[in-house]
Point group: C2
């Protein structure tokens, strides 16, 4: 298996993608092709021993920054690392791709270059969020705004397959993000989606609320990408503020510093539960080949988790299962 890694994307590129790729080549029985500026990648590789049989470089001299208009940049910058990576994936020069760079550019590359699975109306970004009951999936976490009922249903189906195959969740539960638990609650979109989700081949448990996100009430949480993006960033932002506050408590004086020593292990366990780096990246579900978005602030550990995830994504045939299920639903609806 060969994973295509965008070596230029993210806050810690190329160091983090290269270091994680070297470790993955050693430990995961995968080949890696690093896409980006040859000089920069070679310089990073030269800093550590690495498996030359498993790691190769695909040159790409351009980079799409976080401030560029994604679809436009993908169309015009043919030699940007993310564009080159997507074309390689499309042409079968790798089995999955991973980028920590501009989210919009990765989504556009997935949509415009890799292409949609037949029957999938809109691919969706599926993020794993920490919860009191382990990682749960939020889909769509920001790829699509102004969704229609059919989109939310497809998100739920694709998310369920991913949780079942990649995270080994048995019969994953699906909740519809709404502003109340009762069936009658919601806005126009969610009220219309409720009965369709009830009829879909998923384990639908009804509406869930914002409080259910961290409580982990549902394995898969389906919503419009506008709402999903707001939830994801609210949780991330709150995580930062809470961490800062807790850190502040422990660095205030000698006594509290001593206190910190006593509770260090517990705090580290807690930090680990809430740490996105443990959960790998966010898969884009609905494209013809596996595309994964790593967090922009990923360090080498986080990139490695995302490579582990990319490998499982390929091995567990998520894409075949999505295709079968989506087309099965269409046949059911059409006769």
């Amino acid at each position: 298996m060969k994973i295509i890694v965008d070596a230029m994307g993210g806050d810690h590129a190329p160091e983090a993608p290269v270091a994680a790729s070297v470790k993955a080549a050693d430990e995961l029985n995968v080949d890696i092709v690093l896409v980006g500026k040859t000089d920069a990648i070679e310089k990073e590789l030269s800093r550590r021993p690495y498996n030359k049989d498993r790691i190769s470089i695909a040159p790409a001299d351009d980079v799409i920054s976080n401030h560029e208009e994604p679809a436009k940049a993908v169309r015009s910058k043919k030699n940007a690392s993310v564009v080159v990576a997507a074309n390689m994936l499309k042409n079968g020069e790798g089995d999955a791709m991973l980028s920590m760079g501009n989210t919009g550019a990765l989504l556009a590359s997935g949509l415009l270059i890799v292409g949609r699975i037949k029957g999938v109306l809109r691919p969706a970004l599926a993020t794993l969020l920490p919860s009191a009951k382990g990682p749960k999936m939020l889909i769509d976490a920001g790829a699509n705004t102004n969704c229609k009922v059919e989109n939310l249903v497809q998100f739920a189906v694709m998310g369920s397959i991913y949780m079942k195959n990649v995270l080994s969740t048995k019969n994953p539960t699906v909740g519809l993000i709404s502003n109340g638990e009762e069936e009658g609650k919601g806005d126009e979109l969610t009220k219309a989606a409720y009965p369709k989700l009830k009829d879909a081949p998923i384990n639908f448990i009804g509406n869930i609320e914002g409080r259910d996100v961290m409580e982990g009430t549902a394995d898969v949480m389906t919503c419009d990408g506008f709402v999903g993006n707001v939830i994801l960033k609210t949780v991330e932002g709150m995580g930062h503020v809470v961490s800062d506050k807790v850190k502040g408590i422990f660095t205030k004086g000698l006594f509290t510093k001593l206190g910190a020593l006593f509770v260090m292990k517990g705090l580290n366990d807690f930090k680990q539960t809430m740490d996105y780096r443990e959960y790998g990246g966010a898969p884009l579900l609905g494209t013809k080949k596996p595309v994964i978005k790593g967090h922009g602030s990923s360090d080498a550990k986080a990139v490695f988790s995302a490579i582990v995830q990319a490998k499982k994504f390929v091995e567990t045939n998520v894409i075949d299962d999505i295709e079968k299920n989506i087309n099965g639903m269409e046949e059911e609806i059409n006769g």
Copy 2:
């Protein structure tokens, strides 16, 4: 000034509303009328010394529970405490009303009985959320779904007046909750609202994201009530999960219990920052008289904060200012 308190609403009724009212009558120079079942209220009052000149009872034998359909219950249960309270407010038998009960029933009572300020299209629930920079306002936090551009603009105007008058925030900043900071980001509603907010008589700072909620980037955050409700409950849910985890860390063993002693003060400061009880209730903005929703789980301290807030709401002429501003905007638009 006389505050009308629904003595039957909330998880700790009638104990919490009665205890808080007794304290308020003693300390805040306000009269209180407690609305609800006379026996239950008298029993609570008999447990403590109270100022008989300032505290009276208005009998109401019915209660609307959290499981009833709000608008229907408000229309049919003429003798429910929240309905009696709203009618008293409408008839000038008090200057503001407060309820910790069924949110929908309070909103319906505000809308159907107290009535809208002339020019206000939809009253909105305005919640104060803790942030790294102190309490900030989320409006609409759940009263309205499927909002239109004009609603978001009015929410921003009303929220700004409240922050300025009641929280003494100078020239409050307004952010539009969206899925990206750039002007072009958003769903259909927020993209259309952006230029209108720019033109409104407010200190508009553009789009804000989920991460800005806890960072406190804007004093007023305007959004559709579906999105606001999801944000509010996500923050509340995360607060619970984090508190439980942190508490768990400190009760695991002797060493960590000792650690807890050292950091207790810091933890208490932190808890206080995140404590909704410090911030009073959520005002319903846009009704002809001040209506305040207290949190359902309010204890006496939280109810007292909400009474403090109700008093300021009246004293600072929020409603007159909303009426002037909304009508001023209409005149500007209409010529």
